[in-house]
């Protein structure tokens, strides 16, 4: 996982560096694989989605797209592909139903309370949390991936943590 703003992917290409797409592939292929595996489980389908993501990125660059944040743009493509894959396979998992084969069992009541709180947040907010904690994307990268302002990413993240904290304190007091 890369430190957000210090990633070389977010800087302008120079002559001595490999092309953007090559660097993206080298540095982000693992992250993308984990992203898709987290959403769709393992298997060859995940690698197909990773390849398709880079293919669409290559097409975008060829068509003259110059995203402000290349890694965020890449995850934006991945997000669309993931959603399309879910739609086509009708694999919409109910929110309260755990992915037993992926999620580790937990005995921690606080984590369970946090899970319940997060499940009540709006979808965009949950996705921001996932991109931040599970994928390690920076605020700017999340903003690029979701097509929302950086300030919105920041405030939604702050709000989510505040909600969890409020819930934990309520449980502690009761």
């Amino acid at each position: 996982m890369l430190p957000a703003d210090e990633s070389s992917l977010n800087r302008v290409d120079t002559t001595n560096q490999p092309p953007l797409l090559e660097r993206l592939f080298t540095e982000s292929e693992g992250d993308l694989t984990r992203y898709f595996a987290r959403r769709h489980g393992g298997g060859e389908g995940v690698q197909d989605l990773v390849q398709e993501t880079f293919l669409q990125m290559a097409r975008g660059l060829k068509d003259g797209k110059s995203p402000k944040c290349a890694r965020g743009y890449l995850f934006g493509i991945a997000r669309h592909l993931s959603q399309a894959a879910w739609s086509s396979r009708a694999q919409v998992i109910p929110l309260n139903e755990s992915l037993h084969n992926v999620a580790a069992p937990t005995q921690d009541d606080r984590v369970e309370a946090a899970r319940e709180t997060i499940s009540t947040l709006e979808p965009m907010q949950r996705e921001i949390l996932d991109l931040r904690f599970a994928q390690g994307l920076s605020y700017a990268e999340i903003a690029e991936a979701l097509g929302i302002p950086v300030g919105t990413v920041r405030s939604r993240l702050h709000h989510a943590v505040a909600e969890v904290r409020h819930r934990l304190e309520s449980e502690l007091n009761s």
């Binding site: 703003d5 929110l95 979808p123 996932d130 920041r154 993240l157 969890v164």
Partner: protein, 154 residues
């Protein structure tokens, strides 16, 4: 410092999203204020629990998928019912028009006056099919659009 501001600064610093200057100011504040340090510790604990919940429950990040809006492609099966319906409507309209015309022509000149003016550019502007009242079968009747009196063709 307001609790909300401290909350935001602690989270941003944790994620490496705080500028060096702001981070330095925050450090000074925490060093001087014990209550702020305790508060910062609680915020970080909440942050860690939130992280654990997200990591252990991937389903939380799998937001409900918006159905993709795919434009419907006109397939054979989709087109044929339309054609069938259009054909049925055309037949119904034709039959309806035929019987409407029959009732008009069979009547007297007064009833002929009720005949709507035929389209002049049509071959049927002056003629139409009619049943002979005397039982001679179908005949072509000329409709004189000037006098609106139907006359039999020779």
């Amino acid at each position: 410092m307001k609790p909300e501001s401290l909350h935001a600064l602690i989270i941003d610093r944790h994620f490496g999203e705080l500028s060096p200057e702001a981070a330095e100011l925050l450090e000074h504040h925490l060093a001087d204020d014990a209550a702020a340090r305790d508060e910062a510790e609680r915020i970080l604990q909440s942050l860690n629990v939130t992280r654990d919940a997200v990591l252990r429950h991937p389903e939380l990040g799998c937001v409900p998928v918006q159905p993709l809006v795919v434009p419907r492609v006109a397939t054979r099966s989709a087109v044929m019912p339309w054609l069938a319906r259009a054909a049925a409507l055309a037949v119904l309209a034709g039959v309806g028009g035929f019987f409407a015309g029959r009732s008009n022509v069979e009547g007297t000149a007064a009833s002929a006056e009720k005949t709507p003016e035929p389209r002049r550019e049509s071959p049927w502007a002056k003629y139409r099919m009619s049943f002979d009242p005397a039982g001679e079968g179908v005949q072509v009747v000329r409709v004189d659009t000037e006098s609106l009196e139907p006359r039999s063709m020779p």
